[in-house]
């Protein structure tokens, strides 16, 4: 396990390094990155001075080394709009986004796990058909549209939940359901397929033959084994939740880092966008690492490959 853990951590560090590098080359795509870091009304003299200060008049490889040095020290420039460190600004909003994503994740599992299992156990029944249709619709619904419909029905018409902002649990319900729906459909479909495969295995037949009761067979033998592959998907889902959080935060005016980044794009505040991209990459890599280690802990065969 130790060797595997070390290898996985090394790989994650490489990925983080790759993400930082990717963002560097992206910022050079526009031709002159100085324009990305300066307000639009900057004079040619200011631009020239800034280019020199940033080292943009040096060779690309030197610029890259300087950039890596800044990234390691989390010194990725100041926000053009808010002043102050862009990293600190984004970091301040991270909690709100993680809170939303975690809540959406719980909602997603609450819907998808029972639905996936029932759908597999009662395969080809009416329950199965209904669950599959719901899952498909959940996956095809534009997340921003679902958010608007939920606001229209539950906030505007029924006054059950607030339309926007961040506060207690009530503020999280509508954005959480919005964000959790897509991933619920996805997890449900995978879990269903997995449970169906496992139900056909010999050891399940043996469990039935031993005369075990239904709950014991389903929970001990089926669900425990189906849970492992589903766990890897959880990693992918977290990435999706971070992606979807940008749109959800926009619809519900939720003060997370996605909304901050979005405003930064429209205000041409590139340092903030850059930090947001690097942070998101790091969060996702860390979560993937955690999932991989958990997976290896559950299933020792993984460590050998």
């Amino acid at each position: 396990m130790l060797g595997y853990t070390v290898r996985r951590i090394a790989f994650s560090l490489f990925v983080v390094f790759g993400v930082v590098t990717l963002v560097f080359f992206l910022s050079r795509l526009s031709g002159d990155p100085a324009l990305l870091y300066l307000p639009e009304q900057a004079t040619p003299q200011q631009i020239a001075a800034f280019r020199h200060q940033l080292g943009l008049d040096r060779p690309l490889i030197m610029q890259y080394v300087m950039y890596l040095d800044q990234a390691v020290h989390l010194n990725l420039g100041d926000s053009l709009r808010h002043g102050g460190s862009a990293a600190r600004l984004v970091f301040g909003r991270m909690n709100a986004t993680l809170e939303l994503a975690a809540f959406a994740f719980v909602i997603s599992l609450t819907i998808s796990v029972p639905m996936g299992i029932l759908s597999a156990i009662y395969k080809d029944s009416l329950v199965d058909a209904a669950a599959r249709v719901l899952a498909l619709i959940g996956q095809c619904t534009p997340i921003f549209w679902l958010g608007i419909v939920l606001i229209l029905v539950f906030a505007v018409r029924l006054h059950l939940f607030p339309t926007s902002g961040r506060g207690g649990l009530t503020h999280l319900v509508l954005p959480g359901v919005t964000l959790g729906t897509y991933s619920a459909g996805f997890v449900m479909r995978i879990l269903r397929a997995e449970v169906i495969t496992i139900l056909g295995h010999d050891y399940v037949r043996t469990a039935w033959a031993k005369g075990l009761r239904k709950p014991r067979v389903y929970i001990r033998h089926v669900l425990k084994n189906a849970g492992i592959p589903v766990l890897t998907l959880v990693g992918l889902q977290l990435g999706y939740l971070l992606s979807g959080a940008v749109i959800t935060e926009f619809v519900f005016a939720y003060p997370g880092m996605g909304r901050l980044a979005l405003a930064a794009i429209l205000e041409r505040d590139f340092p903030v966008v850059q930090v947001f991209a690097i942070f998101s990459g790091c969060i996702m890599t860390t979560l993937n690492l955690a999932v991989d280690l958990l997976y290896a802990w559950f299933d020792p065969r993984i460590r050998l490959t």
């Binding site: 790759g18 990717l22 534009p142 549209w145 608007i148 229209l152 990435g239 794009i265 590139f270």
Partner: protein, 293 residues
């Protein structure tokens, strides 16, 4: 249809029924997609009004079931533009973006995947590490970063979606080429003196083309959804182009008074994406029977 018959023949009547039902689902998906394609192609004939013409006197006119006035079947928006006509024309924008993005992603991804899989020589290592890095970035975050650099707009939206979607194709093709490369008919072709290009085009590609078709059909819906999301955020297609994502966001200001302006274009996105997904699933089952569950 011979494949369907061949698959349906064994066992009792159950698989046969299953195949028919499966085909019916596929057909339903196809009908939805064809419906949207017809709307896109014949938009000038179908749309009752010009999609960008404003009628200030009839702002936020309700749909026919509320107003009983057939002049604006699905109502008008805050500028008095006909919602139905904008939805019909919006089909063109969505399909164009979706197909262009899939074409770019597939071309780039398949080319890189083929090269890495067939030649190896460190290219495979570099490519796979690059895909690892790109997959570590949440997709929307990646789009935001690209658009932040290139600026919003239709062309940049297509570039952002197209040049980030190649990863899935590259991984798929790479794996498939590795699995195919050492099979005897490929080695035989090489032994007979066929050039690399001939081996790839005549022997490798025909064996992986169905996987690419499946991947493209499943990616189409997702890319249409993502493009609509970015346009909704104001980062993609710009007004006054009748795009479904923009229409949803334009209706936000009048949401409480005129629910139809935002919700109906969103429904159009749902229908198209549902159609492409159902059809894509069916196509996968049809072309790759092993995937059936």
């Amino acid at each position: 249809m011979s494949t369907v018959a061949a698959v349906a023949r064994p066992a009792s009547g159950r698989p046969r029924l299953w195949i028919i039902r499966r085909n019916a689902t596929g057909l339903a998906g196809l009908v939805l997609v064809v419906g949207v394609v017809v709307a896109a192609v014949f938009a000038p004939v179908i749309a009752p009004h010009n999609p960008v013409d404003q009628d200030i006197m009839n702002r936020l006119a309700p749909p026919v079931w509320d107003s009983h006035d057939w002049s604006w079947i699905l109502g008008t928006d805050a500028l008095g533009r006909d919602v139905l006509s904008r939805i019909v024309y919006g089909a063109r924008v969505s399909l164009f973006i979706g197909m262009t993005v899939v074409a770019i992603s597939a071309t780039v991804g398949v080319t890189l995947g083929l090269a890495a899989g067939y030649y190896g020589r460190g290219l495979d290592m570099a490519l796979m590490r690059l895909t690892d890095v790109q997959l570590a970035m949440p997709t929307t975050v990646l789009y935001l970063a690209v658009i932040a650099v290139l600026g919003p707009g239709l062309r940049n939206l297509i570039l952002a979606l197209g040049f980030t979607g190649w990863v899935e194709y590259a991984r798929l093709v790479y794996g498939q080429v590795l699995a195919t490369k050492h099979r005897q008919f490929i080695e035989a072709a090489g032994a007979l003196g066929a050039s690399d290009r001939r081996v790839i085009m005549k022997h490798v590609v025909p064996n992986i083309v169905s996987s690419i078709i499946i991947m493209s059909s499943l990616q189409l819906g997702r890319k249409i959804l993502e493009a609509a999301g970015l346009s909704f955020l104001g980062l993609g297609v710009q007004p006054p182009t009748p795009d479904w994502g923009i229409m949803v966001s334009e209706g936000l200001d009048s949401l409480e008074r005129a629910w139809w302006v935002s919700t109906l274009p969103g429904l159009a996105i749902l229908v198209l994406v549902l159609g492409t997904n159902i059809f894509g699933d069916w196509l996968r089952d049809y072309l790759d029977p092993q995937m059936r569950r």
